[in-house]
Symmetry: C2
Subunit: 473 residues, 2 copies
Amino acid sequence: MRDSDARRAFLRSCRTVSGVLPDMDTVLAWFAAKDRRDRFEVRRVPFAALDQWDFLPDPLRLGHVSGKFFTIEGIRVETDFGPVPSWDQPIINQPEVGILGLLAREIGGTLHFLMQAKMEPGNVNILQLSPTVQATRSNYSRVHGGRAPRYLEYFTEPGRATILLDQLQPEQGARFLRKRNRNMVVVVDHDVPGHEDFRWMTLGQIKALLGRDDIVNMDARTVVSLIPLADPDEPPDEGLLDGLPEFCRAVFRSYCRSDRERHTMDAIMAWLTGGKARYGMDVTPLPLDRLRGWQVTDEAIGHESGLYFSVIGVAVEARTREATRWSQPLLHHQGQGLVGFLCQRQDGVLHFLARGSLEPGNRDGMEIGPTIACSEVAARAGRSCAPLFLERFLDPGEGTVRYDAVQSEEGGRFHHFRNRYMIVELPEGQDLDIPDHCLWLTLGQLWRMARHGHVNIEARNLLACLGAPEAGS
Amino acid sequence: MRDSDARRAFLRSCRTVSGVLPDMDTVLAWFAAKDRRDRFEVRRVPFAALDQWDFLPDPLRLGHVSGKFFTIEGIRVETDFGPVPSWDQPIINQPEVGILGLLAREIGGTLHFLMQAKMEPGNVNILQLSPTVQATRSNYSRVHGGRAPRYLEYFTEPGRATILLDQLQPEQGARFLRKRNRNMVVVVDHDVPGHEDFRWMTLGQIKALLGRDDIVNMDARTVVSLIPLADPDEPPDEGLLDGLPEFCRAVFRSYCRSDRERHTMDAIMAWLTGGKARYGMDVTPLPLDRLRGWQVTDEAIGHESGLYFSVIGVAVEARTREATRWSQPLLHHQGQGLVGFLCQRQDGVLHFLARGSLEPGNRDGMEIGPTIACSEVAARAGRSCAPLFLERFLDPGEGTVRYDAVQSEEGGRFHHFRNRYMIVELPEGQDLDIPDHCLWLTLGQLWRMARHGHVNIEARNLLACLGAPEAGS
């Protein structure tokens, strides 16, 4: 498949909500059956009860005795970006690159994607939909001692499938130190062995599920966000757009190049480079017991204020995972953050307001983030110190809410870490004062920047939610 | 200027060899006059005679007492890429991001660039042509105690000029630890104060100078390499190509998108991501006096074999630089390396053979390099262990040599570090066996990958040399 064929196939799949599974009820029934059949037991345990996890010295950190998986380390952050010049925090260090892979196949003329019903201990509802493969290197080198992940060979063995997309993408820079995963979409032209935990779905079905809370997991969202909904070089076939809601048509069209884009790609690169060069962030390793404002107890590493997040231990018992019983640390989050994009029709083309984002785990300085990304703490702050544009989401006024759902972050590392994701469209022509570190981009421009790893995961999460054929967005 | 206007202006400037300076004789005469008038005195001195530079402890390294500029540190490298699994070496650590900036202005309807005749202590011929501004952060924060670099304000003060290009670009990963500079081209629409060390030149004049040995310095070459010679989205005006040599026309056309490109951009990203994920390189800091195979004496840090490079000290006396007298370490290189691209018409479109390059200083794993980049040592190795494709450059046979000149690497850090740069075109239809870590790209594709910092400096150096209107290339 050439790029242009693949992109036409993506658009067709996106507008299709009836596939191998004929309707959303069938999708949800399969999901619910799996949920009834298999269950993780997740219990909070003190650190001392974690099997093979321990506090390691020099500097003091929490890690697996094998040296594999990940460690939780302390850092001090110093920066000239944003309102807080310095803070300490724990952070996850997981240097290895994992694979988040989506297997695709044309069935009945429509591209389908093989989704997995997968349990993760940190999800509020345990079971969510993941991509076909979600494998850390420890996973597939089998440190767990379990089976190799199903379907992994289509992503690792040359010739087993055609690669449509293979990109290194950053994860949460506020929680992970320089972490990246390979995001892959590969296509086969033949049947593959089935399994009860996996189902073929159209892109439209996945988008429809993204309209609900806590079903499509973060790993699936980041891969889906990289799938372009139209060919940037070719306006979408108007026949395919027929009957779609007007905002949805604007979304598809915003993927296409146009001379009505507010900024050129060179200007966007210059804006990002300027931000990278202007703002610095120094990150120094510190022992976990020497972080200012943080306390290490037998049960948790938490902030004195009770805010932000804490490191806890959990013990897991499972029937269907690669290993049946294990324990591990997780980053527990209380409350819901808010992640949102403002968008607006400008000269007829839908633009999204991006904001430069600099976080301690970023591998290469500033990344492109959504208009707003803040914790519940910040969202509840008084009007005087509220994050910029917060009001536009909490009280949209003349704006139109195009997307509003709660999604979970990676349940293999985070415990009950959920954000409210919103997209709000401003009325055309309404003027907005924006600071230097914000910029309007089309979806095609965001997609082109994302292809090179410049767009952060919060922004990608929102991009994934766009284009649902039966919703406002 | 919009992207497309700028790109048409670049192409016109590239084809023009008569500008403010009417011909190449005038350019060379100005350069020679400056060379006669001003001179650096450069003397080798022992490390103990370096003013304000010293060996600093924990780990032992060579640095400036202010903590500014750069340090020379030791590293151990371990990798699964290439034939040598592990080695030790000194490397330059210069974490700050400098500016390499070219000021442009339309004069008589043609875009001109303000080039500087600049002395650097490490150049074999001391004087070379640099971009308008070549400033480290130490430079412009004036650690030298000297003047701020001339014309710097056009690159740092918003509103003084229009930014055409502003990108972070990596430098030699074999010699610099994660070093990057901002490469900028900005344009003004009015006169700026002149200075005897600066002259306005067309892109065609710069390209013509690149056909000669050791005139256009590395910093100028990397900025010039990022200037697209045609608009990727619009075939070049055939009138502008009239009268150009046939290879030159193929060069301009190779910047334009086409459905005859051998690989799609998604496939190119997938290839690079695959390389980044597959090959690792661990870099561990080591004290300079504990590097296997290296000896530290009063005069130099050198390899026991006498090969590779050595760290030396020089004392410099100057009349026209920011500071009039200083001393510093440089990396001395003996012999000339070879850097080359193979290219070939495929389906009528000129493609270049890129090779994945993994070096210890790379910030993000594999980068896109030229077909060959090797030291004189490697180039002289016996046939059995010669670098891949070496023979195609040393004995082109049916191939056509399109470019062949010796260029100097950064004279502010390197002493007599020169490479022979070559571009050889293979006959159309001639089959070449290429390994997995090589890939054919058009110039437009290389340019688009370079925009995001994926193309290494050796490859960019060669791209800069393409498009000279009066030469074979």
